[in-house]
């Protein structure tokens, strides 16, 4: 059959960017700037095209049969465990590859302009392509083990790309932090796999589909929670979220592609993929939902007061990811996927927009040094604005449908607690996004150097290299409360190049219309229907009536609008004094807590850098060297002391030597005495 033959070639999707990565790694320098970028982008485009072909091929199959595994070769075969390097094309994975290749292509395109002139331009695209490969392998894998390969692969690329400007210590520290934090999650992934092998004897998803239902509840819970630990790491949920804000040290396209659109959603993918375990467990579902909701809320609070353009977006991403898990946790997998898609569009647009802003303002990232930029970069402002409306959940943009779907699912799942939290988070979303948008594009212009402080131009640079300890245990970067760097713009901000504008506009457009994928009206839930073969037999919570559904939607919109209004009132005119952020005054002490991200990150850092490090140092310097090695050398020293003693005995006096003989003789005679006496 034609369609299956085509689906057998699904491995071409990851292979295309892989080819790009290999070529660019070895010959990137020769290909040069910007050709290397175009090569990478072109291959991503091809991959997208091929993904579309896959979609069509899959659609050509009858609904129930829309799952196809194509094995390339047996990867790992030990004992009775046989893991194939196989790719699974089903609605879920194809959705994701479309997202990855589609949004990926756009961000690649954007990066051509953004990275132009960087000394490691081609290297950047090599990493970018490699990332795409890993991400595609992650979603296309037919087994947990291969997913894990992609999982770690994206982690590696994330590491490389966050630390792309490795000259900056903040960047390299952030990259290490990201990888290590992710490894904590991977720890869960690995143990989950051990459990799965023990329980099912296989790591294949097909085996999971058949076998998960028969597991004991406790086993399923263990597996599900361990997998969720991995998701917490990868998707920066509360607890292991600390790396994502720091990851903003990477180039902005990286933030857009990896830390907004694709990689961080891998956790959602995994929960969807492994849903049989979660479903079997039940408890794990609740955990997912609660963690997601809390993440949405807490990250939202932190985003409220951040002064850095990308950090706001980063915490926003964390928060939005929380929504996705919330959805998955209440069993609304299709909604979660839908949220992922919508979020990918608008958050990518926001990041790319912010990238253009940073690019156009000579690397300014501080919101307090922006303002009024809509005049200088109108297209970007437009794209950013649309994305703003979308994320704030204003109808009829996709964000509205997505958020509404999540909240409705929570409500009708009778998870009122998480629903309430989600609602509250929506308020925050409205607020911080409005704050950011106005501070960037509206209000007064704060980027012009005031003549008084012209002399301290170098201060910005100073800030950049601010003596961050060369140390993973260095305190995390906290922008909140930092004095505003003096403005340093030498000329007016400028709009980005066409290759930078185009993706922003397209993504904004997609964000606007993506809602049609899944409209909460019977018959129009295209995505749910499409994904049905994957989530067979799982019923998403449905509104009990249209009226109640509509009421909920209106409530959500109202909450979002409230946030927008509050922010608008506060920031209508921008900032009078860059040093004074009105929200601080309103929040009081809470502002400080929020600004320091609830001190969680700093607490961990203090722990790791303090007692833990001291203990480790003690182990290394005292226990290892003095106790263990000292013991070894001590044994040698005992013999040595005996040797010195023997030398001292050897006085050189012949009488004493004779005495030695006599002692020996007497000892032997005493032995005889003992021997005879005993006998």
């Amino acid at each position: 059959m034609m369609a299956r033959d085509l689906l057998d070639l699904v491995w071409l999707v990851p292979l295309l960017p892989l080819a790009g990565a290999v070529v660019l790694l070895f010959a990137g320098k020769r290909i040069g700037d910007p050709k290397a970028g175009w090569l990478a982008t072109g291959l991503m485009g091809l991959a997208f095209v091929w993904s579309v072909v896959m979609l069509i091929a899959l659609l050509a199959l009858p609904g129930e049969a829309r799952s196809h595994v194509s094995n390339v070769f047996t990867w790992l075969s030990a004992g009775n465990l046989h893991v194939k390097l196989g790719f699974l094309a089903d609605p879920l994975s194809v959705t994701w590859i479309l997202l990855v290749t589609g949004v990926g292509s756009l961000i690649h395109l954007y990066a051509i302009g953004y990275m132009h002139g960087d000394e490691r331009f081609s290297r950047f695209f090599a990493y970018f392509n490699l990332f795409a490969t890993a991400m595609l392998v992650l979603v296309l894998a037919s087994s947990f083990l291969l997913t894990f390969l992609g999982w770690e692969g994206v982690g590696l690329c994330s590491y490389l790309l966050i630390g792309f400007w490795f000259e900056r210590k903040r960047a390299s520290s952030a990259s290490v932090k990201a990888f290590v934090t992710n490894r904590v999650g991977d720890f869960g992934f690995m143990i989950a796999m051990f459990f799965i092998v023990g329980a099912l004897g296989s790591l294949d998803y097909t085996a999971m589909a058949h076998g998960a239902g028969g597991l004991s509840k406790s086993t399923a819970t263990a597996i599900a929670l361990l997998l969720f630990l991995a998701c917490i790491g990868k998707s920066a949920q509360i607890g292991l979220h600390v790396w994502l804000p720091d990851a903003m040290e990477g180039p902005t396209p990286v933030s857009a592609l990896i830390h907004a659109a694709t990689m961080v959603t891998a956790g959602v993918y995994l929960v969807c993929r492994a849903h049989p375990f979660f479903e079997r467990s039940g408890v794990a579902m609740d955990v997912v939902a609660v963690v997601g909701a809390l993440t949405a809320l807490i990250a939202g609070t932190v985003a409220l007061v951040q002064p850095d353009i990308k950090r706001v977006l980063a915490y926003s991403t964390v928060s939005q990811l929380g929504y996705m898990f919330l959805a998955a946790g209440v069993g609304a997998y299709s909604i979660a996927v839908f949220f992922v898609l919508a979020h990918a569009f608008y958050k990518a647009a926001l990041f790319l927009g912010s990238g253009t802003v940073i690019h156009g303002t000579e690397e300014t990232q501080d919101l307090r040094r922006m303002g009024g930029l809509r005049k200088y970069m109108p297209f970007t402002a437009a794209g950013f604005g649309i994305a703003w409306f979308t994320i704030a959940g204003l109808p009829p943009f996709s964000g509205f449908w997505a958020k509404d779907g999540v909240l409705a699912a929570a409500f009708y799942d009778h998870s009122y607690f998480v629903w309430a939290i989600g609602l509250l988070a929506a308020l925050l979303t409205g607020f911080y996004m409005t704050r950011e948008t106005i501070l960037v594009f509206g209000g007064n212009e704060r980027f012009r150097p005031s003549p008084a402080v012209e002399g301290t131009d170098g201060a910005a640079e100073h800030n950049e290299h601010a003596a961050v300890e060369h140390d993973i245990t260095a305190s995390p970067t906290v922008d909140y409360g930092m004095p505003v760097a003096p403005a340093h713009m030498s000329h007016d901000p400028h709009e980005g190049s066409p290759t930078m504008i185009f993706p922003v506009v397209v993504l904004a457009g997609l964000a606007m219309i993506a809602g049609v994928l899944e409209l909460p009206f019977s018959g129009l839930e295209f995505l749910s229907k499409w994904l049905e073969p994957t989530f067979k037999g799982i019923k998403s919570p449905e509104p009990t009536s249209f009226l109640s559904g509509f009421g909920l939607s209106m409530l959500a919109v109202a909450v979002g609008v409230t946030g927008i209004v509050i922010a608008f009132r506060l920031y209508r005119r921008g900032l009078e004094d860059p040093e004074v952020d009105p929200v601080d005054a309103k929040l009081g002490g809470l502002g400080r807590v929020f600004g320091h991200a609830w001190y969680y990150d700093e607490g961990i850092a203090a722990m790791v850098g303090g007692p833990l490090r001291r203990s480790a140092q003690w182990l290394a310097d005292v226990f290892d060297q003095k106790v263990l090695d000292g013991g070894v050398n001590g044994v040698a020293r005992i013999f040595g002391a005996a040797g010195v003693g023997m030398r001292k005995l050897q006085t050189g006096l012949v009488r004493q030597y004779a005495l030695g003989i006599a002692v020996g003789m007497v000892a032997l005679l005493i032995w005889v005495f003992w021997r005879v006496g005993v006998a």
């Binding site: 030398r647 050897q650 050189g652 006096l653 009488r655 004779a658």
Partner: protein, 111 residues
């Protein structure tokens, strides 16, 4: 009974000689350990050898065996040879160091 009579009635068994020899041997050994004059040390060795000779002869008598006495001859020869060589070494040493050389002064080699 008079003292002499007591002694006379006291059968002198080889044990007497052997005990005597053991004491003599020990005296010789102690002498070797405490004296510093090398020549006196040699003399102490001679004491020890003589003790052994007494032992042999006593055993010879006790066992009514001739070899105990024959062996003493070998001991005598050995003693003579030893003394000759030992004294030669001492002479050689004293040629070198004329100022008071006791065994304790010969301690270049130690440790």
């Amino acid at each position: 009974m008079s003292g002499a009579g007591v002694i006379a009635s006291f059968g002198v068994t080889p044990t007497y000689y052997l005990v005597f020899a053991a004491i003599l041997f020990s005296i010789g050994a102690v002498g070797l350990l405490v004296r510093r004059n090398v020549l006196v040390m040699f003399m102490c060795v001679e004491l020890m050898l003589n003790a052994v000779n007494v032992t042999f002869v006593a055993f010879s008598r006790a066992l009514n065996d001739v070899s105990g006495q024959a062996i003493v001859f070998f001991v005598l020869v050995v003693a003579a040879a030893e003394v000759a060589v030992g004294l030669a070494i001492i002479v050689a040493i004293y040629r070198r160091r004329r100022n008071g050389a006791t065994a304790d002064d010969i301690d270049l080699l130690q440790g």
